[in-house]
Amino acid sequence: MSKFYLKVNGKKYEVDVDPSTPVLWVLRDHINLIGTKYGCGVGACGACTIHFNGRALKSCQLPVSAVGVQEITTIEGLSETGEHPVQKAWLALDVAQCGYCQTGQIMAAASLLKSKPNPTNEDIDTFMSGNICRCGTYVRIKDAIKLAAKSSTK
C-alpha cells in the first residue's frame, strides 16, 4: 500500500492503495465517485471513461501510480450542475435506455467536442467506437453529439 495524492474534479484527495490499483477503482471504491462505471476492466467498453489532463481515457487502464499531479475529471466534475452542453443534449434527445454506459459515452463525447467542435459523422464514429452501448443507442448518441456541437458553437 502507498499513499497517493490525486486531483479529481478540482479537489484534492489522499488515498492509501496498492500502486497498481486502476483509477477506476480508486474513484469508485475509495473516493466515492461512482459515476465512472466498470464494464470490462480491459479497456474494451469505455464505461469507465474519464478526462485525464482534459482528454478522454479509460480509467480501468490507468494505474493510480501513473497519475502524479495530472488532473482527473469525472462525470461528477464535467459541470457543477450537470448541465454541460453534452449532458443537456443527451437529455434533449432522451438518449439513454438502461443508462449504464452513458456517463462514459458523455465523457468521450465531451472530449471529442473539445478537440473537434464540429465533428463529422466519421469523426464521431472513429472517436466514439471505443464506447459500447449494449442497448444500442448509437444513433441517438450521434445526434446528441451534433446537437451539443451546434449549441456550443452558437
Binding site: 500500500m1 492503495v17 496498492d18 497498481s20 486502476p22 477503482w25 469508485r28 471504491d29 475509495h30 466515492n32 465517485l33 461512482i34 459515476g35 465512472t36 462505471k37 466498470y38 464494464g39 470490462c40 476492466g41 480491459v42 479497456g43 474494451a44 467498453c45 464505461a47 469525472t74 462525470i75 461528477e76 450537470g82 449532458q87 443527451w90 437529455l91 432522451d94 438518449v95 439513454a96 435506455q97 438502461c98 443508462g99 449504464y100 454506459c101 452513458q102 456517463t103 458523455i106 459523422n121 464521431i124 464514429d125 472513429t126 466514439m128 467506437s129 464506447n131 459500447i132 452501448c133 449494449r134 442497448c135 444500442g136 443507442t137 448509437y138 444513433v139 441517438r140 448518441i141 450521434k142
Partner: protein, 750 residues
C-alpha cells in the same frame, strides 16, 4: 368511456398461461390490491404521505408520488407505467414524483419486466388505480361540500365544483379520501380521450443518468460493506474439487476465502432458478481491486461432473426432468451433432395435408439449412447483488427482472422466512433476459450470512460472460416443394437446438401451405441457457425470413408481395388449426414498411432486404439498406413498421425499437460464443464482439401503425426480423446468401 367493473379481480386470480404466438401471461387480480385504505385508515399511515392505493401517495402539501411496480432495465417502464396512472388520476405529469417500487408483489401484484409484457399487463390495472384514487378524492370533496360527486371535476391535481365555485387540492383531500371505501366501478378514458398517454415523454431519471448519480446495484454503498467475488469452474462440465487459499488470504484487504453451495442438495429448481455452477469459491475483502487480485491467488482444483438428472418445476407447477450430461462440449462437436439430427425425422409438431407426396411430385425442391451460435447477454453492468442478512431481516439490493420468481428460492436455500425478506429493485444496467435468472441473489445471501456483514457480490466481465445462461445454439432446415407451374406445394421445417430448439410450428407461414410439416428436436447439454430477447423467435425468424426471401426469388416474386399473398391465402383459406397470427396486422406492417421505405426504388449503391415477424403479441417489419465498403457492410438506413397496438410513450417506444435494430444487426453480424473443451472461448469484451458506433446504422426511420388496439408490447418484437432483413440485404449487396450466424465469418471469406 369504458366501464371497468370490479369483477375484473374475480375473473383472474394468478393465472399462468401460454400466449398465442409465444411468451407467457401471468394474470393477477390487481384490483384486489386497491383496498389498502381500510387497513391503513387511522393506523400506520405515515403522516406526511397518504397512500391511496399501492401505486399512489399524496402529501397534504400536494406532492404526488407514483410508484413504478416493474423493475427497470432500460425499457423505460419507469416512465411509461406511471404515465398510465397519472392520466387517470388527473395530475400534472411534470410535477409528479416517480419512484421505483420495492419488491412487494402482494402490494403491486405484478412486478414483471420481461416477455414484452410491461405495458400490456399494466394497461387496465394501472389506469384503474389512477381512476380509483381520483374517484376517492372526488368522493372526499363531495362529502365535505355536500354536493353530488357527479357535479365535481378533477384535473391537474384539483377537485372543483363549478356550481359553488369551490376547489380543493388533492393534498388537502387525501387524508379523508384514504378512509373512504373503494368505488365499485370506475370509468376509464378510451383511446382518443387521453392527454398524457400517447404523448412523447422523457425518461424520468434522465438527469440522474447523465449526472452519474447512484442508480445501479454496482453503485450501492452501505456502512461496513465488503466486496465479494466468486470463482466458478473454467468449463461447463466441471465442478469444484478442492482449493487452497493460503496465499490469497494473506493478500492485503482480504477478509476470508470460502466455499458456498448455492442451492441445497435436492432443491427442485423453478424455471428461473437456472445456474451453471453450484459450488463456488468466494473471496471477500475491503475493496474490488484487492479482491480481484486475491482471486488470482486462489489455487483451485476442478473435476468433471457426472451425468445427472435434475427436477425442474416449470410454469404452472408441472415437474419435468432435465438431463445434465457430463463431458466437455465444443462448438465444433455441437455443429456435427446438430447436422446429424437434421438427417433424421424429428418429433412431428404439426402436419397439414400430405407433404411427403408433394415432395415426391415436386418439379423442384429448395432446401436450406441455417445455424446460429450461443450468445452471451453481456448487459453493460455485470452481474452484481447487495445482501445484508441479519437476525432482524434479509435485505437485498438486487437487479432482477422478475423478483417474485426468486422468492421461494431465497426462502428455501437461504432459510429466510418470507416476512423477513426486503428487497430494493435497483435499476439494471441492461437485462435482455439475463437478469430473469437470480442465482446471484442466493450467492450474495450465502456470502452475507457467512461473513455476518453487508456484502456486495460483483461479477467481473469475465465471470459474467463465462457463467452461463446463454441464448441456445440452433439449427433449422427449410425445404419447399415447387411444381411445374412455379407454385409452392409443400413446406417442411425441421430444426432444433442445444439444449432446446426454436421451431414454432403454428406461426406464419403455417396456415398458408396446403402441405406442411414442422419437426423439432433437442440435444441435452451442460451449458446453461435462458431467455434472450425474444427467445427462440430471434433465431427462427432469421431463418424463416431468409428462406421466404429465397423462395420468393426462385418463383419470380417480389418478397413483400409474396408474403402478403401468403398471408391473404392464410386468411381466405386457412390450412390447419391454431395459426397463431393476425393476418391483417401482419399485412399492416408489411404494407406500411413498403410505403415508408419507398420499396421498389432503385439505388445502385444501396441494396435492400425485407423481413417481418410476429412474436410476443406485436408485429414488426424492417427494410434494411446496406452498401459495401472495403468488403464490409455499411448499414445506411433501416426503415421499420411496428404494430404494438396503441403506443403509450412514443419517445420511449422509438428508442427501444432503435435499440432492437442495433442489437439485431450486431448479433447477426458479430454475435457468438464459442466453446472449446467446455470452456467459453471469448472471455471479455476485447474478444466477444458487440456492435460499436461505427458499425451501427447511419439512420433509423420508425413508423407505428396507428390503431386503437390496447398496447401489445414492444421490447422483443422488433428484434427477431432484423436478422433476416439484414441477411436479405447482404444477399443483394454481395450475391451471397448468409445461412450461418454470425455473418461476419462468411463475409470475410468473400
Amino acid at each position: 368511456m369504458e366501464k371497468i367493473q370490479d369483477n375484473y379481480s374475480r375473473r383472474s386470480f394468478l393465472k399462468v398461461s401460454s400466449l398465442t404466438g409465444g411468451g407467457m401471461m401471468i394474470g393477477f387480480s390487481w384490483l384486489a390490491n386497491l383496498i389498502p385504505n381500510e387497513a391503513l385508515a387511522g393506523s400506520n399511515v405515515p403522516k406526511e404521505w397518504i397512500e391511496l392505493n399501492g401505486f399512489i401517495k399524496i402529501t397534504p402539501d400536494n406532492l404526488v408520488k407514483l410508484y413504478c411496480p416493474n423493475p427497470e432495465f432500460g425499457t423505460n417502464v419507469m416512465t411509461s407505467l406511471p404515465m398510465m396512472i397519472a392520466e387517470e388520476l388527473e395530475v400534472e405529469w411534470k410535477k409528479v414524483i416517480v419512484e421505483q417500487g420495492d419488491f412487494d408483489t402482494p402490494r403491486f401484484k405484478s412486478q414483471f419486466t420481461g416477455g414484452s409484457q410491461g405495458m400490456r399487463m399494466a394497461w387496465v390495472p394501472l389506469r384503474t388505480a389512477g381512476a380509483t384514487a381520483r374517484e376517492m378524492l372526488k368522493q372526499a370533496a363531495s362529502n365535505e361540500w355536500d354536493v353530488p360527486i357527479s357535479e365535481l371535476t378533477a384535473s391537474n391535481g384539483i377537485v372543483a365544483h363549478k356550481g359553488s365555485n369551490k376547489s380543493a387540492t388533492y393534498g388537502s383531500l387525501a387524508t379523508a379520501a384514504s378512509k373512504l371505501p373503494k368505488p365499485e366501478k370506475v370509468n376509464l378514458k378510451k383511446i382518443g380521450e387521453f392527454s398524457l398517454i400517447g404523448t412523447p415523454q422523457k425518461n424520468v431519471v434522465g438527469k440522474n443518468i447523465v449526472s452519474g448519480n447512484s442508480l445501479f446495484t454496482m453503485d450501492f454503498k452501505y456502512e461496513g460493506m465488503l466486496i465479494a467475488m466468486a470463482i466458478h469452474p473454467p468449463a461447463f462440465g466441471m465442478k469444484l474439487k478442492s482449493f487452497d487459499a493460503a496465499d490469497a488470504i494473506k493478500m492485503p484487504g482480504i477478509k476470508d476465502v470460502f466455499e458456498i453451495q448455492v442451492y441445497k442438495d435436492g432443491y427442485e429448481r423453478a424455471s428461473f432458478d437456472t445456474r451453471a455452477f453450484n459450488n463456488l469459491v468466494v473471496v471477500v475483502g475491503n475493496s474490488t481491486w484487492e479482491v480481484m487480485n486475491a482471486k488470482k491467488k486462489v489455487n483451485v482444483q476442478w473435476e468433471p461432473i457426472q451425468t445427472k438428472k435434475e427436477t425442474i418445476l416449470s410454469w404452472g407447477g408441472r415437474k419435468q426432468e432435465e438431463i445434465i450430461p457430463g463431458g466437455l462440449e465444443s462448438t465444433d462437436n455441437h455443429l456435427k451433432q446438430m447436422l446429424e439430427m437434421q438427417k433424421k425425422q424429428g418429433k412431428v409438431l404439426r402436419k397439414d395435408g400430405d407433404p411427403e407426396a408433394a415432395f415426391v411430385k415436386a418439379k423442384k425442391i429448395i432446401e436450406r439449412t441455417y445455424s446460429a451460435p450461443f450468445l452471451a447477454h453481456n448487459p453493460m453492468e455485470p452481474i452484481s447483488c447487495f445482501a445484508h442478512i441479519t437476525e432482524e431481516k434479509a435485505f437485498f439490493v438486487a437487479p432482477i427482472q422478475i423478483p417474485e420468481m426468486i422468492k421461494q428460492n431465497i426462502i428455501k436455500n437461504l432459510d429466510i422466512p418470507a416476512d423477513k425478506l426486503e428487497m430494493k429493485l435497483a435499476r439494471m444496467g441492461g437485462g435482455f433476459g439475463r437478469r430473469a435468472y437470480g442465482h446471484y441473489i442466493i450467492e450474495a445471501g450465502h456470502i452475507s450470512k457467512k461473513m455476518n456483514a453487508p456484502i456486495k457480490l460483483i461479477y467481473s466481465r469475465e465471470d459474467d460472460i463465462t457463467n452461463g445462461v446463454y441464448r441456445p445454439t440452433y439449427m433449422v432446415t427449410y425445404k419447399a416443394a415447387i411444381d411445374e407451374n412455379n407454385n409452392v406445394t409443400a413446406l417442411q421445417i425441421r430444426g432444433g437446438g442445444i439444449p432446446e430448439g426454436a421451431v414454432h410450428e403454428n406461426r406464419f407461414p403455417a396456415g398458408a401451405f396446403e402441405n406442411y410439416i414442422a419437426e423439432g428436436w433437442s440435444i441435452p447439454s451442460n451449458i446453461t441457457i435462458g431467455a434472450f430477447r425474444a427467445p427462440g423467435s430471434n433465431f427462427i425468424a432469421s431463418a424463416e425470413q431468409s428462406f421466404l426471401d429465397e423462395l420468393a426469388e426462385s418463383i419470380g416474386k417480389d418478397p413483400i408481395d409474396y408474403r402478403i399473398e401468403l398471408l391473404k391465402k392464410a386468411k381466405s383459406n386457412p390450412v390447419g388449426k391454431n395459426n397463431e397470427y393476425d393476418v391483417d396486422r401482419y399485412i399492416g406492417v408489411l404494407e406500411l414498411v413498403k410505403l415508408k421505405s419507398n420499396w421498389g426504388k432503385n439505388d445502385k449503391n444501396v441494396k435492400r432486404g425485407i423481413a417481418a415477424y410476429f412474436c410476443h403479441n406485436s408485429y414488426a417489419a424492417h427494410v434494411v439498406e446496406v452498401s459495401m465498403k472495403n468488403r464490409q457492410p455499411v448499414v445506411e438506413n433501416v426503415v421499420s413498421a411496428l404494430d404494438c397496438g396503441f403506443v403509450v410513450n412514443p419517445e420511449g417506444a422509438k428508442n427501444m425499437v432503435e435499440g432492437a435494430i442495433v442489437d439485431g444487426i450486431g448479433n447477426a453480424l458479430y454475435g457468438g460464443l464459442r466453446f472449446d473443451n467446455g470452456s467459453p472461448f471469448q472471455k471479455n469484451l476485447n474478444q466477444y464482439r458487440i456492435i460499436r458506433h461505427n458499425e451501427a446504422p447511419k439512420k433509423i426511420d420508425i413508423h407505428f401503425v396507428q390503431n386503437n388496439i390496447d398496447p401489445t408490447g414492444l421490447g422483443e418484437p422488433p428484434f427477431p426480423p432484423v436478422f433476416g432483413a439484414l441477411a436479405n440485404a447482404l444477399y443483394k449487396a454481395t450475391g451471397k446468401r448468409f445461412y450461418n450466424q454470425p455473418f461476419i465469418n462468411d463475409l470475410n471469406k468473400i
